[in-house]
């Protein structure tokens, strides 16, 4: 289209946030925010359509030099490939959904939308930046809007959850900073570009690092990066911030958190841990694949078992997210020993990020709609909601069934690909993990049974809501939910649409 198109997409939300400063009227603020997020989404769809699959590689590159000395070069580079493109689309989609679903906000409206839009910019930045330093800046910047959004607009123990989120992520970020510095310490690393772009004469870290002596051992750098992403993923045993953050965050923020923020970690694993450490001296990622498989398996089963005990709807979905993000790591571990690896499982792992984003986004969205009406998320106070809000119930059912891996919906596709692929490398872990599917059926159906069906369980003494006065969602309430079901069905029936892209991206990352 034109140069700096990607930059435009990334910074449009931030630019809108600045514009918002000049407006006072609540309606105008909401309309402008929605307009901006819709435009961003349309532009990401445009990227999705115009990306040349035959050409592959990195496209839409924006580049100018930033820090250039003989020792180290860091530039402003944005670009997308098959791996990041679907995630950019996901971010555009979920941000739009999050903004639209926030139209009922009344508290400090202007600031709320400013933070939400800044959050969108930082996430888009993470997925598009190809320079390590830039990546780090975007990765860390996302903390500030999230802290504000949870701490101010949240519910329950919101300050506690917000600070917990910040401390965990910041600790992870500290490890990443150390890893970057450790990389930088080696003479051979003269550029912080995460990929090589031959057209621009940029040689990236993956090529610079291979076979060279590093001052800090590769294994340490690897695990520092890994810890940063494991916190974000979140991986057992670093997961405890997630249920708290989700429980207390407002609906739109939960959607963003589960939908796209966790995917930054998965993306980082692919781009950095897999991209950099294939031919490093002394230690490669393939030495760690066994460990990754074990951690993934534990996350899946542990997350599912703990989920079964939850009675708060949001907490329940948060724990199920831990289980589902475990599949991402399990599929990722199918890199095996580098010779015997499964391309399919890696694709499944990448696809799982996308599908989990849409499915869990829908779950949190519908739980938010339920919470708006009942003012409680305690399953023991719900029940028989289908009678009063049938359409919300349908969307909640769809998200639940997709989450338990029903064929025809997107969750099934990514899970089956992960299982088929990983079985070749780690048969035992795959079988154990596949049992997570049975557990998922258990907690999802039980949740649906207790909240949507049966008899209403609200006691007369707790006056959180009046069952008789409950109503179904309005058109504007349901629009975001409807938007999110489209990719769930689309991928379930026609997975090649996204897999062909992921396949391109992953092939380039794997040497």
């Amino acid at each position: 289209m034109f140069d700096y198109f990607l930059t435009l997409i990334v910074f449009l939300p931030a630019f809108t946030a600045v514009i918002l400063l000049f407006f006072k009227s609540r309606n105008k603020i909401i309309n402008i925010s929605i307009f901006s997020s819709v435009i961003t989404f349309i532009m990401s769809v445009y990227l999705f359509i115009t990306y040349d699959k035959n050409l592959g590689g990195i496209q839409f590159v924006d580049h100018f030099e930033w820090i250039s000395s003989i020792n180290i070069k860091s530039s402003y580079i944005l670009g997308i490939d098959g791996l990041s493109l679907p995630l950019v689309l996901l971010t555009g989609l979920l941000s739009m959904v999050a903004v639209i679903s926030s139209f009922r906000i009344t508290k400090r409206v202007k600031e709320y939308f400013i933070w939400l839009l800044l959050l969108e910019t930082s996430v888009l930045g993470v997925f598009t930046s190809l320079d390590l330093l830039l990546f780090f800046i975007f990765f860390e910047f996302e903390l500030i809007p999230m802290y504000m959004l949870i701490g101010i607009w949240g519910s329950g123990r919101k300050e506690y959850s917000a600070i917990k989120f910040v401390i965990f992520t910041l600790a992870g970020g500290a490890f990443m900073l150390l890893a970057i510095l450790a990389l930088f310490a080696s003479d051979s690393i003269s550029s912080l570009s995460m990929v090589s772009i031959p057209d621009l004469n940029i040689i990236g870290i993956p090529d610079l690092i291979s076979g060279k002596n590093l001052i800090v051992p590769a294994s340490i750098i690897f695990f520092f990066f890994f810890i940063a992403f494991a916190v974000k993923l979140p991986l057992w045993p670093l997961h405890n911030w997630l249920p708290d953050a989700h429980t207390d965050a407002p609906t739109a923020v939960s959607v963003m958190l589960a939908g796209v923020l966790l995917k930054m970690a998965g993306y980082g694993l692919f781009r950095i841990n897999l991209g950099f450490f294939q031919q490093t001296k002394g230690f490669t990622i393939f030495d760690a694949s066994h460990l990754l498989a074990i951690l993934g398996t534990i996350s899946i089963i542990y997350g599912a078992i703990v989920t079964l005990r939850q009675t708060d709807l949001k907490r329940l979905i948060a724990y199920s997210s831990i289980s589902h993000m475990g599949y991402v790591l399990l599929g990722f571990s199918a890199i095996g020993n580098g010779i015997n690896f499964s391309n399919a499982a890696l694709n499944g792992s990448a696809l799982q990020m996308f599908t989990h984003g849409t499915i869990t986004g829908l779950s949190f969205l519908t739980v938010g709609l339920i919470y708006d009406r009942t003012h409680t998320r305690d399953i023991n106070k719900l029940g028989s909601l289908t009678n009063k809000m049938p359409i919300i119930a349908v969307f909640f059912m769809i998200s639940g069934l997709a989450s338990l891996g029903l064929p025809g919906l997107s969750g099934f596709v990514s899970e089956i690909i992960i299982f088929i692929g990983t079985f070749k490398i780690f048969p035992i872990y795959t079988i154990i993990s596949a049992f997570g599917v049975v557990l998922a059926a258990g907690y999802i159906l039980w949740m649906i049974q207790r909240s949507l069906f049966g008899k209403n369980k609200l006691l007369n003494k707790d006056q959180t809501y009046k069952y008789e006065e409950l109503s179904d969602g309005t058109l504007l309430d349901l629009l975001p939910a409807f938007i999110l079901t489209i990719p769930i069905f689309l991928i379930g029936i026609w997975p090649r649409l996204f897999l062909s892209l992921f396949d391109l991206g992953i092939k380039e990352i794997i040497k």
Binding site: Y302, I305, R309, N343, N347, F412, F423, R496
Partner: protein
């Protein structure tokens, strides 16, 4: 051409689902009568095309392909497999489903979620049609799961009844437990050879001897586990009796053509793989055990639908046993005949409930004169189920019992013995049911039951309704007549004994269905043994006379303590539900394992984090004291550290 037709057969129910769940629901509301007609129309199309397919045998070449996944090391192509087995299944599924739709027009009349009911029904039918014509095992699994979820939705159709929702969840989770095995085998087979997921390729590979027995054994164990869950075989049988919480018309479909037959179909579809493995004896044993224990539980149940549910499990056990003994065509034949009379029986039960307002046989009786059509239909289907000459149930059951005899050896004769005992019990509980329902005098129906439950302060289930003793409307009785007709005559399609009839050759059915295994070079033995036929009929007749005699005038029989204890054991379903739900799931899994995991999560992992943060906070707070701004303390620190450094230097030399 045939494949294109098959594709239409598959798509039209899904179109029906789509129209009913969106257009009809939005434009005409949730009680729209149109939805029922739409369904009947679309499934009618499926039925007509299925019949055309049945009489136009096609080869197994695959013209319609859909590449679902094309990754570098993972290619999955979906296609259609229209062989004789499929074409028979298509007719069973679409035929029974069509009749059930017609019946539902009357049975569901006035339900406030009429549209939703028909939407689910078409999804259910479409999924089952897709299942039977799948060419790829993964594709089969996809429809398999869709069948599971649509039965979940239908069993829990009346979602305000807690019992219905619990039963639906139980059905889904127990079958999912089995599906875990199915999924494992798919993964396993794919990793053995990606091409082996294509069923025709698999047949060819096994026939060519390129599949090691060990691989076949492991893979078929997983598939068997899936089939056990779906077909409600021991030890995963306990979901099926509870599954009658859905509308009776749904039970008719679940028990005859869709859902439970899927498991048997899977074993039949992958018969070469099972035949090649070492677990055939295991399959036969599971079938035999299931048929026996289910039949015993059917003896004492007082709920008419429960009796029928146990009989389904028992008859499925027969089929699984036959498959385990290698009697492929006998199992399919029994599946075929069973579908008609079992659907008929369930629809009769619905009709009886329509009149008497209860499913509890203690409160029925004397309905014979009030509802003649229902009575005669139930009698015909019941006699057919009991396996009495010359109805269709006799022919198919006889083939199965004969197969145990032909198998021979200790195991074969053991199966024969079990088969004969089950035949006796089947006839007994069937005539017990007929006798309690239709003979004697009327014992008050739903009104009476409600009165008793209320006086004992038990909550009255919603299935207990008012009595209005009259024949059901025409929509409900016509399907009964059709099904009764088939319950009498469909057995002759197999023509097991006579020489060539006018247009049905001797052993026509068996030879037709075995063409499915042509690639595998399978040939069954077809014979007819007069002694065995006589023996099984004798057992059935003894059983029915015994039941008729005992239940002529009373509802309870024995007062003896031993019998009472046995009765108690059977009423409690051998405590299997108790073991699964109370002991394993609730006490061991949920209250022990899950609870301790959740406790660990809250009290260990989270606490470690909190302690870590507290430690850092304290550490920072204490380090603050180092910078207290007092010049003399800085001086002290300087001097002390100076001394220490000097000491270190001296010590190190």
């Amino acid at each position: 051409m045939i494949e294109l037709m098959a594709l239409i057969v598959l798509t039209v129910p899904f179109i029906g689902f789509f129209i009913n769940s969106t257009i009809v629901r939005i434009l005409f509301g949730s009680e729209s009568i149109i939805s029922g007609y739409i369904n009947s129309f679309f499934i009618g199309i499926s039925l007509i095309l299925s019949l055309i397919i049945l009489f136009n045998p096609s080869d197994v070449t695959n013209q319609i392909n859909l590449t679902w996944l094309n990754l570098f090391d993972l290619n999955i192509t979906f296609g259609l497999l229209i062989d004789p087995l499929t074409s028979i299944m298509l007719v069973i599924v679409s035929g029974i489903s069509f009749l059930v739709q017609i019946y539902s027009l009357g049975y569901m009349h006035g339900d406030k979620s009429y549209t939703r009911y028909f939407a689910y029904m078409s999804l259910f039918t479409g999924s089952m049609l897709g299942l039977v014509m799948s060419r790829n095992i993964l594709q089969l699994f996809i429809f398999w799961e869709l069948v599971g979820v649509s039965s979940y939705l239908l069993i829990g159709f009346w979602f305000n009844r807690s019992s219905a929702v619990v039963a639906a969840k139980k059905a889904f989770i127990m079958t999912r437990f089995g599906d875990f095995g199915f999924l494992f085998s798919i993964i396993y087979l794919f990793n053995f050879n990606p091409a082996s997921l294509d069923i025709v390729e698999l047949y060819k590979m096994i026939a060519a001897g390129t599949v090691p027995t060990k691989i076949a054994t492991i893979a078929s164990l997983g598939f068997l586990f899936g089939a056990i869950g779906k077909s409600a075989q021991f030890p995963l049988h306990s979901w099926l009796p509870d599954a009658m919480e859905g509308p009776t018309s749904v039970s008719a479909l679940i028990h005859s053509a869709t859902m439970v037959t899927a498991g048997v179909f899977l074993i039949a579809r992958l018969f070469p793989l099972f035949d090649h493995s070492q677990i055939m004896i295991l399959i036969a044993s599971i079938g035999a055990i299931t048929s026996l224990i289910a039949a015993t539980m059917g003896l004492t149940s007082t709920d008419i639908k429960r009796v029928l549910a146990y009989s389904t499990i028992s008859q499925l056990g027969y089929m699984v046993m036959a498959l385990g003994l290698g009697a492929y065509s006998a199992a399919i034949f029994h599946l075929f005949t069973h579908a008609f009379f079992k659907a008929g029986l369930f629809l009769c039960a619905g009709s009886v409930h329509h009149a008497s307002g209860t499913f509890n046989m203690k409160f029925m009786g004397g309905l014979q004169s009030k509802m003649k059509l229902t009575y005669y239909s139930m009698l015909i289907c019941g006699v057919s189920l009991a396996g009495i000459f010359p109805l269709s149930g006799f022919w198919s059951k006889d083939e199965i019992i004969l197969s145990t005899f032909n198998y021979g050896g200790f195991f074969g004769y053991l199966c024969l013995l079990i088969g004969l005992i089950v035949a006796f019990m089947t006839a007994f509980y069937m005539f017990r049911t007929i006798s309690l329902t239709f003979y004697g005098s009327f014992r008050g129906g739903g009104d009476e039951e409600r009165k008793i439950l209320k006086s004992n302060n038990i909550e009255v289930p919603e299935t207990v309704q008012n009595v209005h003793l009259e024949e059901s409307p025409k929509f409900m009785t016509y399907p009964l007549i059709v099904l009764s007709f088939f319950a009498i005559f469909i057995g002759y399609a197999a023509n097991p004994v006579f020489f060539d009839l006018i247009f049905i050759n001797k052993h026509a059915f068996s030879e037709f269905v075995e063409k499915s295994l042509e690639i595998y070079h399978y040939h069954g033995t077809h014979s007819f043994n007069f002694t065995i036929a006589l023996l099984s009929t004798f057992m059935a007749i003894i059983g029915s006379l015994f039941a008729l005699n005992t239940y002529k005038s009373k509802t309870e029989i024995y007062k003896n303590t031993l019998i009472k204890n046995i009765n108690y054991l059977l009423d409690k379903k051998y405590f299997i539900d108790y073991l699964y739900e109370k002991v394993i799931v609730e006490n061991i899994f949920y209250e022990t394992i899950c609870r301790s995991f959740a406790w660990i999560d809250n009290n260990i992992f989270d606490q470690i984090n909190i302690l870590l943060s507290r430690f850092s906070y304290r550490f920072g707070l204490n380090s603050l004291k180092l910078q207290n701004g007092q010049i003399h303390s800085y001086g002290l620190a300087m001097i002390l550290s100076g001394i220490v450094s000097v000491l270190i230097l001296i010590l190190l030399g």
